[in-house]
Symmetry: C2
Subunit: 409 residues, 2 copies
């Protein structure tokens, strides 16, 4: 039943990301689109803004009529009317004529530029004096200047930010094809684990991982499906895993980092016909006992039982897989890392990637990463910390003042 013990590097594991399938597409209304991942590129069906628009409050004119205008020698213009917002211009502008126009108004025929309100004096109802010249196109957005027809306004595989959704609105995309949110099954294992509303007996602890992993899954844009607590028992774990595989795109089992429990997870994985252990151990600390398998084309993870270890493995390794399944095209580039400097020397073992919890504090010369002291099994180190820094496997340690990057969580 047991397979070879295959300990992999972080990079080797991350190279497996592309081997899994993306969640299928579904159409959603644009008011639900922000935060979702586009399944197909969206092209502009027509020019945007679609007409030449003024960027200021002022007077639409032919620029040539203003050439040479100055405080000492202003140019005179006949005011022939006003451009009503949102309406076809009712006036055409000839040389030495001007039409009142507000920010966002459509340039009337004949006009090629706009004189700002501040650069004109009103002589009477029909006449203004302009004392600064404008160039053709000045204070105007051309009809196709934002996006020409056919331009890609949003690429496939991008998570829509508020401004991306705004552009989709501008081109009239009332519904949009996005990847379905991946569903992620979360199973906590361990004979010592009891539900949050139970009173633990001596030796028992409440289920922390289900809540923490659910929060991380949701923050990655996916839907957590908490399947509860399963005892360290082959049949129970297999039944829960089968339910998870039937309903979800990814399975996270956490707990069971002790040797015997880990064997259960491997046995359960191997009991599914279409399964393969990809990594049995990752050369990271904390998080070494992590298991990654492919079961029915889904990533199936055995995460450490300590929530701090599970969080670090999630942030650095599981999350890119989840982003990929959710449709993100460049999942390894999606992490925000905050540049900082290390506040003190840190030792590290060669041959494995070490993660150290840190607090980020402002100081002279920018941000500093202060290691949070305490045993790795404590919850409070994750609460006190703002994130972790990564010490590469070929690095023996870092000196105070070294430049580091904080993976926030």
């Amino acid at each position: 039943m047991k397979e070879f013990f295959t300990v992999m590097d972080v990079d080797q594991v991350l190279a497996l990301v592309e081997g899994f399938s993306r969640a299928p597409a579904e159409a959603v209304g644009l008011q639900e689109a922000t935060g979702r991942v586009l399944a197909e590129a969206v092209l502009a069906g027509c020019d945007l803004p679609g007409f030449a628009r003024s960027t200021v409050d002022g007077y639409a004119v032919q620029a040539a009529s203003s050439f040479g205008a100055s405080e000492g020698s202003p140019a005179l213009f006949d005011v022939i009317g006003t451009v009503a917002m949102g309406e076809e211009a009712g006036v055409a502008v000839a040389p030495a004529q001007a039409a009142r126009i507000a920010t966002g108004g459509a340039l009337p025929p004949g006009a090629d530029s706009v004189v700002m309100l501040e650069h004109a004096d009103v002589l009477d109802e029909r006449t203004i004096e302009v004392f600064r010249s404008v160039a053709p196109g000045q204070h105007v957005i051309a009809a196709d200047e934002d996006y020409p027809a056919g331009a890609v306004v949003a690429a496939a595989g991008r998570r829509l930010r508020p401004q991306d959704t705004g552009v989709l609105a501008a081109i009239g995309t009332a519904r949009v094809d996005v990847h379905r949110r991946p569903r992620v099954a979360i199973i906590s294992t361990g004979d010592e684990i009891v539900p949050v509303d139970a009173v633990p007996a001596h030796g028992q602890i409440r289920d922390v991982n289900s809540f923490t992993l659910a929060g991380l899954v949701a923050a990655a844009g996916a839907t957590p499906v908490a399947l509860g607590i399963v005892p360290d028992d082959f049949e129970a774990l297999r039944a829960a895993s089968a339910r998870a595989l039937a309903a979800c795109d990814m399975v996270l089992i956490s707990g069971g980092s002790s040797v015997g429990a880990r064997d259960f997870t491997v046995e359960v994985i191997s009991s599914f016909a279409d399964s393969r252990i990809l990594a049995h151990g990752i050369s990271i600390s904390p998080g070494k006992p992590t298991i990654l398998a492919r079961v029915l084309d889904r990533p199936f993870w055995g995460l450490p039982g300590h929530v701090a270890s599970a969080m670090i493995v999630f942030a650095r390794i599981v999350r890119p897989f989840l982003l990929h399944i959710g449709g993100i095209r460049d999942p390894l580039a999606q992490e925000i890392r905050l540049p900082a400097r290390l506040s003190r020397n840190l030792a590290s073992a060669q041959g494995r990637t070490d993660f150290v919890r840190v607090r980020v504090v402002g100081g002279e010369e920018g941000l500093w990463a202060e290691p949070v002291l305490g045993k790795s099994g404590l919850l409070n180190t994750m609460v006190k910390g703002d994130g972790v820094i990564e010490i590469g496997k070929n690095v023996e340690g870092l000196e105070a003042g070294a430049r580091v990057e904080v993976i926030l969580f």
Copy 2:
């Protein structure tokens, strides 16, 4: 009807944050708590983890029995049993005795430390040889080491991260008091604005701001309430504002940055009995025509019509007000700013705070902020950009290579 034209600095406006009330508390189940803001501090009702726990797989012993043990001179221990996970220890450990224990197991009476599996050889079913000594407390988390009873595990006014929710689970908090999510009314004004599913006539554009602002509001942890498009008309805008004030904790009116439309917003605000204009213009670019009023104790904003300007005003100025109403105790410290260096010289006017859209690119010596060129009224500059940098009001400009901080969005 008109009040004095009160242009304020960014800092003057932000100093008004504390003058508004926070949203009231409501109880939610812990599975919905991540991302919400705690209304009251939560204290540990008992010690955590509540019993001395092993942090490794190994043997629970009295440390003194291992003193002096080495490869050359191992210490012998009688193995008297196994600690079952989640159960009261059935054995007590005397000198030179050991009990098998897995990671997370409860230390049995008598034991004060754990020898790692790797540091012992099994001689027979009842005997091990330990070849490395342990200190008292080694590989053990004490019963109150994570949180002693009475300790604050989560402070009021903090947005719960996944790990915070995990700790609340650990202490048995199945329901938690959080601030109600602020409801934010969003109104787009402008005679030229048509809905996303309409085909704009010449001079019309679709409503971009409702979608973009809704996304920003949601990302700040609040609930957007889009009230649609209102023409530039006093009665229509007053009716929409009355509906907004009846249902929401904050009102965002965007559009109407032209002089006449802005007057409407001011007139509408002044038409409510309990109202006061706090800022009529902010010395920032873009975003100068922003209006902030207090109406019925709610912040009531008139935002610029250009979506790019509205986004910048939201990110830098509106958002802290929204976080405050949502219960965040230190809203001005909640913004992640990414340190980077400027890729080229930038001019800036003194006396106002300038915001410049930038793309963040990796390079030698870390991250670089590359200004995104293009007129401020374009949508594509916000899509191409990763955020903005701020040039202070007393700064005349920045040179290439200057250290800057990017406000991401």
